[in-house]
């Protein structure tokens, strides 16, 4: 519904959510939110091998969540914010739709009750 307006393909979303479904990959993204890092730096907090980290980075790269550049012998990873922003906007669609609808309902009914109350007292005055 609301979220249909967000321009992000189903395939891209699948890739983004697939990538985010793993705890290690989320931790990698959180680390990259603080700045670029090499494979070794990314590996340090985890008890996993370098090939395993490289595999996670590949998944993140395919999802468009990171990009990688070479600096001498090191490969640096950078966070790409846009797909995350789009995925967050897409996810929030349902909740936002109903949050806003109910908020409007509250306002509408508040206005109706106020009108009815002042209408009722007008009537009392006119009939007395």
């Amino acid at each position: 519904m609301d979220s249909a307006t967000v321009e992000i393909s189903e395939e891209q979303l699948d890739a983004v959510f697939g990538a985010l479904a793993d705890r290690t990959r989320r931790a990698i993204l959180a680390r990259l939110a603080e700045g670029e890092a090499s494979v070794n730096e990314l590996r340090a907090p985890f008890a996993v091998s370098q090939p395993a980290i490289s595999q996670h980075l590949k998944v993140l790269e395919r999802a468009g969540l990171i990009s990688r550049t070479r600096k001498g012998t090191a490969r640096l990873s950078h966070l790409e914010a846009e797909p995350l922003r789009e995925a967050a906007a897409w996810l929030g669609g349902y909740r936002k739709y109903w949050e806003e609808s109910y908020q409007r309902l509250d306002e509408l009914l508040g206005a109706i009750r106020k009108n009815e109350r002042s209408g009722a007292s007008d009537q009392e005055r006119s009939t007395s």
Binding site: D2, A4, R26, L79, A81, L84, Y102, G110
Partner: protein, 160 residues
């Protein structure tokens, strides 16, 4: 302001919501029953709401269109099942942009004196439909992914 509670259990076809409204039940029911009122609250403000058909009775059809100022429009239609009452408004729901994927929506208005609790349950044809169409992001793992996403995006926005 009361908060909207959204529940989507992992592996289920359902999404349920709860929201308390600061008005008595009769009035809340009117806001569902009368299309002139419904058009004033259903959907985000940035959409214009046009109700084509609204037959609020057993077997009655409904159809409405949300449109934004960029010329995008999103149409929905369905049928009421059973006579709608504050104890239960049951309808089918289909987004015309995703035809053939129909959900069954039930809304119940619970009397809380001067307030009303609106409970809704939406049942989808499949888990994929639920996750794909509702895009609530609350299925197993996605809930956490969503929380992480919020943290990450907040961080990113603060840093940019």
């Amino acid at each position: 302001m009361t908060e909207l509670k959204v529940t989507a259990e992992p592996g289920s076809h359902e999404v349920s919501t709860e929201r308390e409204i600061d008005a008595p039940r009769d009035l809340v029911f009117r806001a569902y029953k009368e299309p002139e009122l419904l058009a004033q609250w259903l959907g985000p403000r940035r959409y214009a709401m046009e109700i084509d058909t609204y037959e609020f009775r057993d077997g009655g059809r409904w159809r409405y269109v949300h449109s934004d100022d960029q010329g995008n429009s999103f149409a929905f239609h369905g049928v009421f099942h059973g006579d709608p009452s504050p104890d239960g408004m049951v309808q089918t729901f289909e987004f015309e942009g995703y035809p053939g994927h129909v959900s069954l929506d039930t809304a119940v208005l619970e009397d809380r004196g001067d307030k009303t609790l609106i409970r809704t349950v939406t049942v989808f044809q499949s888990i994929e439909d639920r996750d794909g169409m509702v895009q609530s992001g609350m299925a197993d793992g996605m809930r956490e992914a969503y929380e992480r996403l919020e943290e990450l995006t907040a961080k990113l926005i603060a840093n940019s």
